[in-house]
Point group: C2
Chain length 371, copies 2
């Protein structure tokens, strides 16, 4: 049988020594580089678990001229249409606000979201605050239970149970990550499937995977990726799609969702031998691996559409904050090759909260059998 070898020139960019241009090297690049300078990958919308612990120098992987892509197919100027997630999310929020009013007028009920936050992580607190603000802006009520870091699993489960039976709550969200001493799977699965607006319940994922079955909720970020495509007039059916990353919260569900839209889907992951070559086959690339600038320009087929889910903080002394946010895709290179691309920030990010609002509204409508 023909062995899988490391064919992609793209990958060799990470390594100076020819001895590294092997399958092993190809695999390694997903997790670490030869550099040890720190960078942090964080994913504002509860995607922290996506991110492996790695160290990369941003400049080494995307800007350093020694390592720069020397590909004749690269245009010198950006050619890609920028998919403006901020603007699309705003439009969706406006549509939701209108629909929330319609539900209120017709039924006298207001869709409600409950958020459970455990501990005092500043990022989690920010995300919860943003979600509550977003609810308020569209007329969805929100309530929060904030439990201390040292709460017991039972205390969290009690809060979940209370919201499960509360008729004013149509969606329940457990802000992740939970403290390490808790069984996240158990707590997330305790959320009533009818209120699982995150769509992370195993039953929902099973239905998403199966033909002829309808999940009650589609996970927010994957749903946001599809909305970005369809609202930008990009046809999915019949296209080849590559999803980079196979996390439970983005990679896997977005792949299942693309397939439901009749794309031909491949998933590239840390054990994939030739990720650049495979990604280059795609008409639609969705990068959701949590590694800054992993997807280089020459991973992209000319004219492909690129949806970048990653939000990674990299050291940047020129910035006031000392860091800046970049995606999983090397934007500077990809925008010269792709036909359309999402920026980071301002691409997928704003869509996640919009889809959370959309799921909460849908839940309230379903409960009251309202079209």
């Amino acid at each position: 049988m023909e062995s899988l070898t490391f064919k992609s020139a793209a990958n060799s960019l990470y390594f100076h020594s020819p001895k590294h241009s092997s399958i092993k090297a190809s695999r390694l690049q997903f997790f670490r580089s030869s550099s040890t300078a720190p960078y942090h990958s964080f994913l504002p919308e509860r995607h922290a678990s996506l991110s492996p612990s790695i160290g990369l120098k941003l400049h080494e992987i995307c800007v350093n001229p020694i390592m720069a892509v020397q590909d004749a197919s690269l245009a010198s100027e950006p050619v890609a249409i920028v998919i403006d997630g901020k603007s699309i999310a705003k439009q969706i929020r406006n549509e939701i606000a209108v629909e929330v009013s319609r539900v209120k007028d017709a039924l006298g009920i207001v869709p409600g979201l409950a958020v459970i936050l455990v501990g005092s992580r500043p990022d989690s607190q920010t995300y919860v605050r943003n979600k509550k603000k977003a609810c308020e802006a569209v007329g969805i009520t929100s309530q929060e239970v904030h439990l201390p870091e040292d709460s017991s699993e039972e205390e969290v489960l009690t809060a979940v149970s209370r919201f499960n039976v509360d008729p004013t709550v149509h969606g329940i969200l457990i802000q992740l990550p939970l403290p390490k001493h808790m069984n996240e799977e158990k707590i997330v699965n305790a959320v009533s499937i009818e209120k699982d607006v995150d769509g992370f319940n195993e039953l929902n994922i099973g239905r998403l995977a199966m033909q002829g079955r309808a999940p009650l909720f589609v996970p927010c970020t994957p749903k946001g990726c599809i909305e970005l495509l369809t609202r930008s007039g990009i046809k999915i059916e019949g296209k080849r799609a590559v999803v980079v990353g196979r996390s439970n919260i983005v990679g896997t569900p977005v792949a299942l969702l693309l397939q439901r839209h009749n794309a031909t889907v491949s998933i590239v992951h840390s054990r994939t031998n030739n990720p650049a070559e495979i990604t280059r086959e795609a008409d639609i690339v969705i990068a959701a691996v949590g590694v800054a600038n992993l997807v280089r320009g020459n991973w992209i087929k000319p004219g492909a559409v690129v949806i970048d889910v990653g939000i990674n903080a990299v050291d940047d002394p020129t910035s006031q904050r000392g860091y800046r946010l970049v995606g999983d895709v090397c934007y500077e290179e990809a925008c010269k090759i792709a036909s359309a691309i999402t920026p980071v920030p301002g691409g997928v990010g704003p869509m996640t909260i919009a889809m959370l609002l959309s799921n909460t509204l849908a839940s309230a409508k379903r409960l009251h059998n309202f079209q």
Copy 2:
């Protein structure tokens, strides 16, 4: 954006007229040919629902010299190792028999399978008889409820409920297809997840899709495919795998399973524009679409491993029965290109029952916490 065009020479074999060598033609071939002569695709192990209603002349698609593959890469003699499913299944059944004895000796309990058959389809009756025989041969007890065709859904659900609480029953199998007036999804989902030896429950499929989650049972035919590979010494990790077909009972779960084994997986389906080209990228091809001889020799990369799940009956006047069984893969062509291939019959077929026995045994061991 570059459009997906119909690039594969392989597909044009189906069509004489150049006007058909289009995306449309490529899609059509999954469902019908220009011929109207009947052939029947049936899948002995409850895979009837895989099979689209189509008409093909066997000779036109795999033997007719006018349409024969003219590919320089084709060897004139078979080169593939034949993966002997019959022999591997026998070995597994022997191992199960030993283990059933060990459970009996240690715990005094006998693993038990219950089968629910509704109606009088001769094929279903044969499959149920074969399953009961296979149980008997390894020491697993079996019992059957046979309900008339015009039973109500409630009567079937009552039988399911009874087995759900019967401590001597460790596995419950609903023989599919059920009569048309019944909601198959509802009945299959009524089987207790702890006894769902078919693994078709949505919760099981969800767990199969998610990292870090363990399905209680892996669906039998997909599990059989993986066993054939691993017991033949074929490494899955890091390989490119293409699954042709996305049914709930084979295509989708086998793709999820290959990914759990760290293959890089793509699913080719009826809306895929260039199935031959994509399949040709694979080191491992699993064909589970229920279309006789769909996968031609030039869909296969030289040296690839081919697992053929399809069992299709095609007219054959030279056979006593008037038909013969062929797979979804054109065996005569593929065996000259692949490094290993399963025959039809005698490949995947015998593995399905073996895996049903394996799941029933595992269920009994799990219930009694026996290693």
